[in-house]
């Protein structure tokens, strides 16, 4: 198993794939979170009836396999609209919306968990809606939402393995390419799996730690 035909170039190729995985994840989590906060606050603010169309659209992203979302978006943008857009852009766009759909739910849950009496007290002390949001709701909601958000970010990193379908060579795809050439599936898969594990495991543990710590006090 350790007697491998893997060369330095192959390792660089794998590392590049890992880099793509991390970049796609970072972009998707960043834009997804920004959109998710906007959607989540909007949904909370206007109430279930007026937010119904948005809820419906966001729900679609959570009810259809990501693989199909990517294929559909790619086909729509490149063949229906006829734009010249790279697979990387499509992948980032779809993953961002996918992240936003989940993040909106987390944000809404976080805001709802803030006791309404506390907010009313804040407003009656003369705080504006914006001040109430930033200095009362945000600190409390972040505590509730952060562990789930960490879980979401890690989920997006794992789901980013699917962007191979729009011709983005990320970590798992680069491992697959090497497997086809070297015929050493076990070794390469273990290397690739360990990479995901070594990033995900400590962060997931940290998220669990925060959750426990904050639920105590």
């Amino acid at each position: 198993m350790f007697d491998t035909a893997l060369t330095t170039n192959d390792l660089i190729f794998l590392a590049r794939g890992a880099g793509v995985t991390l970049i796609v994840t970072a972009i998707a989590v960043f834009f997804g979170t920004v959109m998710g906060i906007v959607f989540g606050v909007f949904r909370y603010q206007v109430g279930p009836w007026w937010a119904a169309p948005l809820t419906f659209v966001l729900d679609i992203f959570r009810s259809i396999p990501l693989l199909i979302q990517l294929v559909l978006a790619n086909a729509f943008v490149t063949t229906v609209l006829g734009w010249r857009v790279s697979g990387f852009t499509v992948a980032c766009g779809v993953l961002s919306l996918y992240t936003a759909a989940y993040c909106a739910e987390i944000v809404r849950g976080g805001i709802e968990a803030v006791p309404p009496t506390l907010r009313r007290a804040a407003r009656s002390l003369g705080l504006s809606w914006g001040q109430d949001m930033t200095s009362i709701v945000m600190p409390l909601a972040v505590r509730i939402a952060l562990p789930s958000w960490i879980g979401l970010a890690l989920g997006v990193m794992k789901d980013s393995a699917l962007v191979y379908v729009v011709q983005v060579v990320e970590l798992l795809k680069s491992a697959q390419i090497l497997i086809t050439r070297l015929q050493e599936p076990l070794f390469l898969l273990i290397v690739c799996g360990s990479f995901y594990f070594l990033i995900s495991f400590p962060i997931a543990r940290f998220g669990g730690y925060l959750e426990r710590k904050w639920s105590r006090d």
Binding site: I64, P65, L66, I68, L172, L189, I190, G193, Y196
Partner: protein, 221 residues
């Protein structure tokens, strides 16, 4: 509006084949849930057993299932086991991969649910003369399954969505596989995958809705 000729009729003609695929998808998802729940219960028992080795086995399973992509897990079952000379059919690889993933996530849900069941219940059951297994089977487990009913529904939806990953192990009888096969023949990518997306949406909605109805009926009191 678009510089593209939609050919919905042509794509719709493949609907019967895609619906057959949808049945396979549901079958894989259901089986993977049944296997996943059974293994998750066993893993939970391992954790409760107090044995260090068994707890370590359960913890390793859960952490690997939760911290690596599902795609990787299915890949590992198909090509990784292939390295040991065990060659499974795409169907089995997909089923085992998803079941592995389900078991990991569900076991974590069960552990959370157990926190809500007071330890005193087990002790009273034991003092009534029940064996540890009977106490778990008749007192703790029903409550555990009830508390984690909602997470289990979510996991079922996940399992349905995960069946699409079978494509990496050349699975071509499930909904995604059938669709991409048809796509390779006709190149009506957008129309075909839009229909597949619709079917997936309907399936997941039906599952969540019926689970909600079932929960209302089962947990009335």
């Amino acid at each position: 509006m678009f510089n593209y000729n939609f050919r919905w009729a042509q794509a719709m003609a493949s609907l019967p084949r895609m619906l057959e695929g949808a049945l396979v998808t549901l079958e894989v998802a259901l089986l993977s849930m049944v296997i996943g729940i059974s293994i998750a219960i066993v893993l939970t028992l391992f954790r409760l057993s107090g044995s260090r080795i068994l707890s370590a086995v359960a913890a390793t399973w859960v952490e690997i299932a939760r911290n690596t992509p599902a795609l990787f897990q299915i890949y590992m079952v198909h090509f990784g086991l292939g390295g040991f000379g065990i060659h499974l059919s795409p169907y089995l690889s997909l089923l085992i991969g998803i079941a592995f993933n389900n078991a990991g996530y569900l076991s974590e849900n069960f552990r959370g649910a157990l926190k809500g069941i007071p330890e005193t219940q087990t002790r009273s059951a034991r003092s009534l003369g029940m064996t540890p297994i009977a106490a778990f089977r008749y007192v703790v487990m029903p409550q555990m399954l009830r508390i984690s009913f909602l997470p289990m529904t979510n996991q079922m939806v996940w399992a349905i969505l995960m069946t699409s990953l079978g494509t990496v192990v050349a699975m071509n009888t499930d909904l995604y596989g059938v669709t991409s096969d048809l796509n390779a023949r006709t190149f009506r990518t957008f129309e075909l995958f839009a229909i597949a997306a619709m079917i997936f949406y309907l399936i997941t909605k039906t599952v969540t809705l019926s689970a909600r109805l079932l929960a209302a009926r089962l947990f009335r009191y």
